[in-house]
Symmetry: C2
Subunit: 139 residues, 2 copies
């Protein structure tokens, strides 16, 4: 792992990176509420982890509490994004990197499946046109 | 790669593994039709590659024609499954392995997103109950 791959996290004032801020348990309650809305009304949502007053120790604690599930997704577009389901189905730990491998954003996404994984109908149509050209070239 | 990881493919009678059977181009036309149904009426479908009279050379040719896209998914449940989008959005090359790493099935799946990646609402609800227990233990 290069130094660039380590996300830059603004540690809340007065705390060291290794301190627990005490903010992470409240985040678990927020996540539970988001999962409840997903189950009850199908609403997807996300939390920007870099916008919250969390220390690296908080993030480690969160990752440990949430565990990991069976599905891991990588999306390679400019930089690499990883979307790993946690032990809570419907809750995904999402990290986006730029082309140098630097983590540029981290989210907790609540969704049956992350939106970015779905093929867009316009793109399917464009791919289909390309395939039809390929087929006509073969015959 | 162990020998077990190499899928066993029944080569059609009279052909060697390195021969093109001539069946793969017809399969491209079938795939185009499946993609058309996905775009037009949202219908998902799949082709079992091991049920078709295709040689390993046919499969290599198909893989080359279909190319690869940006999304790669692994699902780790007993054995590992990989679901890689092709250069045609909505068309996924899917391989399921058993716990020894042997390929047990290969499919071409046509879907906006493969069904197996989606969290099931019942599982989300069970995960949420588990998370709520965890939260009540913390407080």
């Amino acid at each position: 792992m290069s130094l660039d791959a380590i996300p830059v996290i603004a540690v809340p004032p007065g705390l060291r990176a290794s301190d627990l801020s005490g903010n992470a348990p409240a985040l678990l309650r927020e996540i539970a509420e988001m999962l409840r809305r997903l189950v009850n009304i199908g609403e997807s949502s996300a939390i920007d982890l870099q916008a919250l007053p969390l220390t690296p120790a908080d993030l480690d604690w969160l990752k440990q509490q949430l565990g990991h599930g069976e599905v891991a997704i990588t999306l390679d577009s400019d930089g690499e994004s990883t979307l790993n389901v946690t032990a809570c189905p419907g809750l995904w730990w999402v990290t986006h990197c730029n082309s140098s491998g630097t983590v540029v954003s981290s989210f907790l996404e609540v969704a049956f499946v992350p939106e970015v994984v779905k093929a867009h109908p316009d793109d399917v149509e464009m791919g289909l046109e390309h395939l039809e050209l390929l087929i006509s070239d073969l015959s």
